[in-house]
Structures are given as structure tokens and as C-alpha cells.
């Protein structure tokens, strides 16, 4: 079974070798929030309908990231647009996903040398951390099939601008192939990916990034 989407995106958002963050805070928040929503979508808990997130199955997953996220979505009286959930979940998505990875032993804390700087994280197994990038880039370059979860992950990679690190070897054919895969996603997933991309772009235009 594949690793959770948000975990993979977390690794993609850091340099393989140095562990340094590749992504600024707001984009990381949007990207990981999009990944969390995608996980809930793929687990059948929510759907995206006319741009809004709707609960299909309110049973909380037993995951420390998905459980609280779905609980907040269920508890919210209004049906909100995707962008609202990207903003809301994006506030702690980074820390939340990091905690999940710490819990599963894939990440460890690196204590900061200075008291005013926050602690950072580094992967326990560097090869495992580099795997998501290889898993995406390989099939795209060869125009081979990708699982829907990986297509969504690739879409979020593009939405956050990480494609320059993951798909830098891709030929124009490869890029076009990837774009077609994303277009052909089921509507809820496709909308989610597009909304994440728009949210990141709007943050640039609105001077929030």
C-alpha cells in the first residue's frame, strides 16, 4: 500500500540530500492541506461538489492528521469552498504531517543550534525520502501509467512549484502526458488540484507570500 499522499508531499518539499525546506510557508501549507483533503477524498470521506467540500461519510479515520481534519469539516455548519479549507487546514498542515511522520518513525527532530530558531526535521531513511520523486518522475518520463493517487501528488507538486525539482528532466512530451493525466482525474480530485494551484498563485498576487 502506498504511503499517505501528504507524507510523500512532505518529503518532496524538502531537499533529498540536505533536508532543507524547498517550499515557503504559505505554499507548503496550501500544498499539504490539499494533500490531506485528497487523502480524505480517496478514503471516501468527502467529495468536492461545485467547488465546495461535502462530507460523504462522517466516520473519523484513525489517523492523527485525517481524524482532526475530518472532525473540523463535519463540525462546520456551512459547506465551504475548497479555498477556505486549504487556508484553514494549511495553518498547521506542516506540523501535523510532520508529527505523523515522527510517529511512524520516518522523520526525526533536529534540535536547532539557536534558541530563537525552530527545530527542523530530517528523514530517518534518505532513500525512502527520495522515493516519491523517483516514483513520479520515472513513469512520466517513460509515458507509463500512474496510479490516481500519484497523479494527484504530481498535480500538487506542480501547484506548489516543486515541479522544477521533480520533473526537471521531463521532455515536453512527458509534461503534456502529465497534464493530460491530471485533466482526466475524476472531477473532485481535479478541482482540488486546480484550487490548490490557484490558491498558491493568488497568494503571490495578493502579497501574502
Amino acid at each position: 500500500m502506498n504511503a499517505p499522499l501528504a507524507d510523500d508531499l512532505f518529503f518532496l518539499a524538502h531537499d533529498d540530500r540536505t533536508g532543507k525546506r524547498r517550499l515557503n510557508e504559505r505554499a507548503a501549507g496550501f500544498g499539504l492541506a490539499g494533500a490531506v483533503l485528497a487523502e480524505l477524498l480517496l478514503a471516501g470521506r468527502i467529495t468536492v461538489d461545485h467547488g465546495r467540500v461535502r462530507v460523504l461519510d462522517p466516520r473519523l479515520p484513525r489517523c492523527e492528521v485525517l481524524g482532526p481534519a475530518l472532525r473540523d469539516i463535519v463540525a462546520e455548519p456551512e459547506t465551504r469552498v475548497v479555498r477556505d479549507w486549504l487556508r484553514y487546514l494549511g495553518r498547521d498542515a506542516y506540523e501535523s504531517v510532520a508529527r505523523r511522520l515522527l510517529g511512524s518513525g520516518q522523520l526525526r527532530v533536529v534540535k536547532s543550534r539557536f534558541p530563537w530558531r525552530p527545530d527542523t526535521y530530517e528523514p530517518v531513511d534518505i532513500n525512502a525520502a527520495a522515493w516519491p520523486a523517483a516514483r513520479l518522475a520515472g513513469p512520466v518520463a517513460r509515458l507509463d501509467p500512474l496510479e490516481p493517487g500519484d497523479v494527484v501528488l504530481a498535480g500538487l507538486v506542480i501547484a506548489t512549484g516543486l515541479d522544477r525539482y521533480v520533473f526537471y528532466t521531463a521532455s515536453p512530451d512527458g509534461r503534456q502526458y502529465l497534464e493530460r493525466l491530471i485533466i482526466e482525474l475524476p472531477a473532485p480530485l481535479r478541482v482540488l488540484v486546480l484550487e490548490t494551484e490557484t490558491a498558491v498563485g493568488d497568494a503571490v498576487l495578493h502579497h501574502r507570500m
Partner: protein
């Protein structure tokens, strides 16, 4: 349950806390207006080149006209995505071809304004460097130094720019207020005169020239609507912030330029401006308040020009990003650096343009202050005025087709009055453009500059028509801010997808 919740939900509260209030917007707008650049740079060269004294009253008048314009502008911003750019309004109101035409005019205008500032770099920095180090350097040395700072900061996280600009803004406003009060306390001939505030100045010959200068001073006010989707109260916050900004900017400029004329005497302001140009403000301060405050002002003049360059640079980079995102311009412009969130392609292109122009003026030995700063700035201001006129009509057209729940004053009466007012201003400016530029009667510039704008607009319109034929999906999404209605209907058909960078 369909009842309204008694308390806002945790999600609503969290979203609200991330949003901005009116003061944040006001701060941003005024810092984009860079007061000292206008008061020390534009006003003095304006007095000098036009020979007219009515600049202070022109600021008041233009503030009122722009406030009237803002009624419809802010109302329409609530219904337009991509509200940070005039071209979004023009696309939605007057159609996509005019929208793309407006975007090219906008890129030309903002670039003229930004690059023009390099011409003032020498005028601002040379006196300081001569005073501190005793060396005389060519203007383009300073221009290149400023250019380097802008190019580097343009690629960085916006946070650095924002905080720096805020601190500088407060200092600039403080200095201007101190100087102006002092100028009023030392009137030439012992008596405070109000000649330069006389409304009659707006009716005399050459009125268009001072109106153009006033509009130039206000460029940046239009950026308040960028925050339409980021503010706490979408209906009120942006509107309040826009009017407060206009009042603050207009009041500050009118006060400062009037006080300057009081200190020199209204009969001498033109002569003194011609003799000392941007130094005038500081030499007045020096004789009234001592060298310390004068030098402080000169230092802030340098930082103000730098801040103005950064502000316009950011605007242009984001403009290109918005157009690249919609694929009206090459998609590579729609990319950002993942680490800094900065639109690197647009930033680099704008820096390249700046470098080429500095090099051109340096090699051709043209006058940087008059030819680059003043002509560049006033020409850029003309473009902004054209955009304001186009947007004003776009507002009327938009609301005529979809009232969108706005009241009659906001969607028809105010926009109609404003359209007449700004159109009159534009006609006057074009009629007096030669006076504004200060060129001799046989010079081609007064008709050449508007013609170039016309050609830029036309090229944009033609490009839009090309897109309509060759890339209909891209054309359909113009001005919609990357949100195409088709992509959100839940259909799985690939045809409806219009592409962003994906």
C-alpha cells in the same frame, strides 16, 4: 440546521484571524505612493518644467475625482477575480480584447514609471555622496547601484520588502510634515499666501499639465483592491481603506507642495524649482531647520526613490505573473520560486528592461532627470490615466449587465459622474501634453507618446483576437483570474479544461 450559528465557527474565526484589516491596506497603498519621491521629485520638477503654480490645488481636485472613481471601482472589485490589475476590470466590463489591450498599456506604463526613477537616482544620491565622501560620480553609477538592490530584492521573499517599506514610509511622512510646518512658519515676505491653492489655477491654460502631475502622484492608489479577497469585511474594508488612502495622500501632497510655495513665495516657486529642482525642498529645510534635518531628508529621499522602484518592480512582476498564469503571456511567467514565492521570471525581465534603459541613457548621454525621470514618469502617468478612464467605463458596462446587488449610486451614478470627470481630465492632459513635457512646439513627443500607447493597446487587442482563434480555451479564461467556470462544474470532460500551468 439552517439557522445562523450563534458564534462564528472555529473555522470562521481562524479564517478571520488570517485576514487583513483596513489599516494594513492603507499602509500598503500609501507606501506604494512613496510620498517623498513625489514631494521632492515630482512636484519640484513639475513646477520647473510646466511653469505653472497650481500643483497643490490640482492634488486636491484629483483626490476628489479619484474618490468618485473609487466608488464604482471598489464596488466592482467585489465581483471581479484578479482584482489587482486594471485589465481584469476592463476584460469583464468592456470585453476581453480591450482587456488584453489594457494589460499591455499597463505593462508599458508601470515600466516607464519604474525605469524613469533610475533617472532620479543620481539627483538624489549625488549630493549626499559629494557631502560625505567628496567625490562626484556619474548619475548612472548611482542608477546601477539602485538597480542592483532592486534586482536582488525583487527575487526575495516579499516579507523583507514589506517591513522595510513600512518603516521608511513612517519616516518619510514625518519628515514631510516637519518640513511643511516649518515652511509655513517661514513664509516669504512674512505672509502666508494661498495662491497655489486657488481653484482658478485649474481653469487657466495648461491646466491639463498640473492635473497630469497630480495623477502621477496618486499612482499606486489602485492597488488597494488587490486585497479584496484577503480582508476581514469584503464589503467595507477595501472601500474604507481606499478613501482613507486618497485623503491621506491628497492631503499630504497638497499640504507639502503648498507649504513649499509659501516658503518661496508663489511668484518664486517656479524660478526656485528651475534653479534647484529636487534640492529645493532640502535647501529650504536646511536654512530653516539646520543641516541635520536637511541631510536626514536627503537620506530618506534616496530610500524613498528606492522604495518606489521596488514597489513598481513588484507590481510589474506580479502583473506579468497574472498574465502568464492565464497564458495571455508565455506560461513561464506564471511560475514562482517555490522557496521565496517570488515571480522570478517577471522580476528578471523587468530588471533586464531597467538595465537596458540605464545603459541606453548613459551611452547616449541624455539628461537623466529631465529625459528619464520626468518624461518617463509623466508618460507613465498618462498611461495610468488612460487605464483609469477605461476602467471607469468598464464599471458602468459591467454593472449595466449584472447589477450584482450593488446600489444605484455605486453602480451607475457615481461611475457615470466619474467617467465624465476622468475623461475631461484625460482630454485636458492630452491637450496640454506639450506643456507638461516642457518641450518646444516643434517637438514630436506630445503626440508620439500617446500614439505609442495607442499602438500598445492595439497590439494587445490584436493579440487577444489571435488567441481567440488559436487558443480559445485560454481566451475564454482571460480576466477570470485562473478560475474558469467550466473547470468547477464537476464535468469530467477534458474539453472544458482551459489550463493554467497544468
Amino acid at each position: 440546521m439552517n439557522d445562523r450559528p450563534a458564534r462564528p465557527s472555529p473555522v470562521a474565526q481562524a479564517l478571520a484571524s488570517d485576514r487583513l484589516g483596513a489599516s494594513a491596506v492603507v499602509f500598503f497603498v500609501i507606501s506604494a505612493a512613496t510620498p517623498l519621491t513625489v514631494v521632492a521629485g515630482v512636484v519640484t520638477t513639475g513646477y520647473a518644467t510646466t511653469g505653472l503654480i497650481g500643483i497643490p490645488v490640482a492634488f486636491v481636485f484629483v483626490a476628489l475625482v479619484l474618490a468618485l472613481f473609487s466608488v464604482g471601482y471598489v464596488a466592482m472589485a467585489r465581483h471581479v477575480a484578479n482584482a489587482g490589475a486594471f485589465y481584469g476590470f476592463v476584460s469583464r466590463g468592456l470585453g476581453k480584447p480591450f482587456g488584453v489591450g489594457a494589460s499591455w498599456i499597463a505593462l508599458l506604463s508601470y515600466n516607464l514609471l519604474q525605469v524613469g526613477l533610475y533617472g532620479a537616482a543620481g539627483a538624489a544620491a549625488a549630493p549626499l555622496v559629494a557631502e560625505w565622501f567628496g567625490v562626484e560620480l556619474a548619475w548612472w553609477v548611482f542608477a546601477l547601484a539602485f538597480w542592483l538592490v532592486v534586482a536582488v530584492l525583487g527575487l526575495q521573499h516579499v516579507d523583507i520588502n514589506g517591513k522595510v517599506l513600512a518603516v521608511l514610509l513612517l519616516a518619510e511622512v514625518a519628515v514631510i510634515m516637519v518640513y511643511s510646518v516649518s515652511n509655513l512658519a517661514h513664509p516669504a515676505g512674512g505672509e502666508v499666501t494661498f495662491d497655489t491653492l486657488a481653484p482658478a489655477e485649474l481653469i487657466g491654460p495648461g491646466a491639463g499639465a498640473i492635473l497630469a502631475l497630480a495623477v502621477l502622484g496618486f499612482t499606486g492608489f489602485e492597488s488597494s483592491v488587490v486585497f479584496s479577497e484577503e480582508v476581514r469585511n469584503p464589503r467595507r474594508t477595501v472601500a474604507v481603506a481606499t478613501y482613507v488612502s486618497l485623503a491621506a495622500i491628497g492631503g499630504l501632497y497638497a499640504f507639502a507642495s503648498w507649504a513649499m510655495s509659501v516658503a518661496t513665495g508663489p511668484d518664486n516657486i517656479v524660478g526656485e524649482s528651475q534653479a534647484q529642482s529636487s534640492e529645493l525642498l532640502f535647501s529650504l529645510a536646511g536654512s530653516q531647520l539646520g543641516p541635520g534635518l536637511a541631510t536626514a531628508g536627503r537620506v530618506l529621499f534616496v530610500t524613498s526613490i528606492l522604495a518606489a522602484m521596488i514597489s513598481f518592480h513588484n507590481t510589474i512582476a506580479r502583473y506579468m505573473f497574472a498574465l502568464g498564469r492565464e497564458r495571455v503571456l508565455p506560461a513561464v511567467l506564471g511560475r514562482t520560486s517555490p522557496r521565496t514565492g517570488s515571480p522570478v521570471a517577471g522580476s528578471s525581465i523587468q530588471s533586464g528592461i531597467g538595465l537596458v534603459v540605464i545603459g541606453l541613457f548613459a551611452l547616449a548621454e541624455w539628461d537623466p532627470l529631465v529625459h528619464l525621470f520626468y518624461w518617463g514618469g509623466t508618460s507613465g502617468g498618462l498611461g495610468i490615466l488612460v487605464l483609469i478612464v477605461a476602467t471607469s467605463f468598464a464599471v458602468i458596462s459591467f454593472f449595466a449587465r449584472q447589477p450584482s446587488g450593488e446600489n444605484l449610486w455605486q453602480r451607475m451614478i457615481a461611475p457615470a459622474l466619474a467617467s465624465v470627470a476622468v475623461l475631461v481630465v484625460l482630454v485636458l492632459v492630452l491637450a496640454n501634453f506639450g506643456t507638461l513635457l516642457g518641450t518646444p512646439p516643434e517637438s514630436p513627443l506630445p503626440w508620439l507618446v500617446p500614439t505609442i500607447y495607442g499602438l500598445a493597446g492595439l497590439a494587445g487587442v490584436l493579440w487577444a483576437l489571435v488567441l481567440r482563434i488559436r487558443r480559445p480555451l485560454v481566451y475564454a479564461a482571460i480576466g477570470l483570474g485562473a478560475k474558469s467556470p467550466a473547470s468547477l462544474t464537476g464535468s469530467t470532460s477534458g474539453e472544458e479544461y482551459r489550463g493554467t500551468r497544468l
